[in-house]
């Protein structure tokens, strides 16, 4: 069996450089499923600048990010990845445990469309309409970033955050229960 798996990986080696992105699974405790498809949604195809941050022991997670610019980004989609078997033989096995999107304020039309698309994604993937409505309200009223509700243990946050070097962003975040 191990031999076969190695052969399969040999074949996969050939595809490493051909640009096919790996499939990112949702963590079992992440109640919102199907995140992997979100970057392909038309509103997010403009986020063409990708980055992976390697496993970081203090947070016990790695990250994959997509942005609309390589340095001074105005929109950023982030998946926070857990490594459930880091210390037991599969350090690179990972799954999406948190997801977030943030856009520079004021929200110009393209960024506003992205915020709406992210909210709509939550709405169509099981997040109660009441919580999605609170995200809309937070956006309209420019509320500070904070928890808006829980869905199957996951906490949904939204609101304005400020990064000293980058500026003010409207941010939506879904955090799976730990």
């Amino acid at each position: 069996m191990r031999t076969h798996s190695n052969v399969a990986v040999v074949l996969a080696f050939a595809c490493v450089s051909c640009g096919t992105g790996e499939h990112l699974a949702d963590c079992p405790n992440m109640p919102v499923k199907g995140w992997d498809a979100l970057p392909q949604a038309k509103e997010f195809t403009a986020l063409s600048h990708r980055k992976e941050r390697v496993y970081e022991p203090l947070s016990e997670s790695s990250q994959v990010l997509w942005a609309d610019s390589n340095i001074a980004y105005g929109a950023l989609l982030t998946f926070d990845l857990a490594h459930p078997r880091f210390a037991s033989g599969a350090p690179d096995e990972k799954c999406i445990r948190d997801a977030s999107f943030m856009a520079l304020v004021p929200l110009e039309p393209a960024r506003e469309a992205q915020v709406r698309a992210f909210t709509e994604f939550l709405r169509t993937h099981g997040v109660p309409a009441a919580i999605a409505g609170r995200i809309d309200a937070a956006r309209e009223n420019k509320l500070l970033f904070g928890p808006l509700g829980e869905h199957a243990g996951a906490v949904i946050f939204a609101g304005i955050v400020t990064q000293g070097a980058r500026g003010r962003f409207f941010r939506i975040q879904v955090t799976a229960p730990r």
């Binding site: 798996s5 190695n6 990986v9 040999v10 996969a12 080696f13 490493v16 450089s17 790996e22 063409s48 600048h49 990708r50 980055k51 992976e52 941050r53 390697v54 496993y55 022991p57 203090l58 947070s59 016990e60 790695s62 990250q63 990010l65 997509w66 942005a67 610019s69 390589n70 340095i71 001074a72 980004y73 950023l76 982030t78 926070d80 880091f86 210390a87 033989g89 350090p91 690179d92 977030s100 943030m102 970033f145 904070g146 946050f157 955050v161 400020t162 990064q163 000293g164 070097a165 980058r166 962003f169 941010r171 975040q173």
Partner: protein, 937 residues
Amino acid sequence: MPTIESAALLLAGLAFLTLLGYPIVRLTLPQDLRDEYAHVIAPGVGYMVLCLFAFALSGSVRMPAGAATLIVAGALALATGVLAWRDRRSPAAAPRSLALRAREMLVLMAPLMVFMLWPFFLDGADTYLGAVNPDYFAGLVDDYFLLKGHSIADFTKGRDTFQPLDYMAGSISSSGRFASGLVAVTMSKLTGLDIRTTLTLSIALFMCCLPPAIYFFSRVVFGLERRPARVAAGLIGISTPVAMSFLYFYLGQNSGLAALAITLSLGYLLLTRPDWRLLVSFALMANALLVVYLGMLPYAVAPLGVLGLYQLVRRRLAVSKLALLLAGFAAVSLVVNFAMIPSLYAMVRGWGNVIGQTLQGQYFLDFLTEAWFPLFLGTVLYPLQSSWYYAAFGPKILLVALVLALFVLAAVVVWAIGWARAANDRARVVTIVSAIVIYGVVWWVYSFQRQYGYAVFKMSSWLQFMLVPFVAYGWHATREGAFAGWKKTALGGAFALYVATNFLGTIEYGVKGLGNNPTQSYIVNNFQMSGNRDYFHVADEVRKHVKPQESVGLNFVDSIQNFWLAYYLRDMRLSLLAHENIPGDDENLPDIQTNKLVDYYGNVREANNVFAHGASDDYYLTWSEHHVNRDIAEPRYSSPPVWQDGTFRLFRAADNPDMFFTGRGYYRMEYNPGGLAYWWPERARWTAEGGEVYLLRPANPGTPRRIMFDAVVGYEHRDDARTIELYADKVKFDEIRVTSAARYVSKPFVPSGPVTKLVIKVRERVPPSQRPLPLWNKSIPLDYRQLNVLLANVHILREGEPAIAESTGCGRAFRGADLLRCARSFNGVQIDRWIGRQASLTFPADATVRKATLKGHLPPALNFTFPYRIAFRVNGTEVPREIAAAGDFSLDIPVEGKAGELALEIEPGQARDREDERPLRHKVVTHALRLESVELQ
């Protein structure tokens, strides 16, 4: 003593690597190549195959890495023994022949050893740390983890936050686990030396293998004669970008420098004279490069793809033969790696993400600018602002450097064309030209499409192997009369310029690497670490005082030094009081109310230091008063240290209440060596938004404290003033407006418990400084930092305690920079003592003071109306004065009341906003008069 020991270790290490590499070069190099090159590439091949086989063995069967290295080293040494016995009667085995080869190797390495490695010899293999790079420390911790009996395939993460080192060990990402660390593991296992010593030694060994590799490359691929090939080897030994790579103390990269040249050369040989033995050697080296430093592998193999096509087209290589070579390469690779393939796949994916990423951070941005050519050609140093010529000539020197670099570049182009015309084999030209085109395209993509400064920064060191043969050829061709007249003069000048600037740059990087003098050395992360043997004794000394169940709080200026201490004290219970994050993350100030942190990539997370344990620590270990690495917050300890030496002090926590230290929000420490014509704090940190200060174990809880600090207003905001808010445990207790520069003592606050978090918050925001003459990538700033406010001299005062000036014992006459150095407080005074619309100063003064004489200068160029009126307020009493004409003035002011200090407020009648000086000062300063001295009588 360390010099001789380190030299002996280095020579022994080279002999050891040669021993390991000998079986490979003996068995895989054809006879004609072996005679000239076997000894030249044996050490480089030695460490590569050791890493490859040990990595594969450990990872395949989950064998402890230490055991795997010993088995591989033993097997290679045994093979050497067998082969040496078999060859014992060959002329090459004669002692004289061996001595000649050893001498040749030393000649090739000598320039690098002398001009680049001299700080390593001076400080010793046991202490030299180059730029004190966190990457090196990550490699050290990973090797420490492997030496505890773990295999290459093992990863883990600790749980005990009182053990910071073990908490982090084993948690490196798979793409960050460089096989080259196994050289240090092997040497540590064989000699019993500390892994830190053998890791530093291994980097020096990797560097020593570079000149011979360049000789091999220059001879084999460039086709240079022996003499210019030796010159190329010498030039790499003084190459400034290579010296930068050494200074940065990269483990993987420095091991890859020689490997890249050797692998490309072997690939060239394989395609131009196909041979199964060369196939094996090339396959082994390419696979070794895969695990040693994967990022360089494409640089070695991509030009070979073009060469392979050329050989096919020119029918120098049959399709069937090429197919056989590829199949053979795949077969060797599979045999070596089969059991490791899943792990390698993960590593390749990780590297693919690193290489392919297009969202970038804040580091190495200079390499994306027009400075790249001077940096690549070694005519300037990185960072540009931190070099002697920048200090001497200012920013305009960059333009000069660019012109000089273009001159050298033009000469390199002429030499390259000359070499291509003279090359006796088109295959060489195809290989080199395709390499240049490929590397050029990569540079273009990273510079302009992805704007990935880190990648271009690395390329500037990696690609030196392609530059120096051209320069060596140019030297040789000029000498041989290939150029005449003005061309000879110009090209000779370019060669001399190249050698001189690279030589000086290499020496300057070496001086910086000593880490003793912060001036112009900010490429070094932490000072007085290289050459500092106090670290070796600190554990023994601390253990004499701290019981096993007690803990020590580490209070150092950044995470780099904190974790180095955690390494030396790894058997003790430790806390990191603050600065547990790498400096690039530590500089973000968390939200005051929510404690949420938003990093450069937008992540919102709790600013939680898992290694801090409140006020529970029994001891504090911190810097000594004589050490350079002192922070801007330094308590006046109530009780003397229980132990101290030249670097450290150990205090008992219970005897030292009111402990305070900086938290997040600050950029790195900066140190002013003095001697400036204006005032600048001795120790300071820039901040973008403000910074945290923690107070532990307040004496007499419930009684008030005040925070004091020095602040200098920064750049890129029109106003030369900032609003600073002060918070204690989320509650705002004070707000001030700092104009130009200030020393401020706050209103009182009451500590609420054993730990109080104070925040000095700056309300305004500033952007980074823009480059003065951007030619491309104009959005890249001169300095990514937002230099908003400079903070220094932070203290927490008990009620009634006077403010602490930077200098004490100033007497009664305050002249020049002493005006600000000695003042108990001030505001509105510029660092060069100009005063704008309003200023205040407070000086210590005894009750006998009756008069203050103020001397200064009123500039004629500002077109003030005379008489010029100034309103003084002395200890609350208004004293108006008039000055009749522009020029120097001296005013006597009567002093009354208020024993203990003189509070002086100055309100000039007229002032001018200096919009004309904004391009120079990056803010609008206001000028009224310049104060030269205040003398109390």
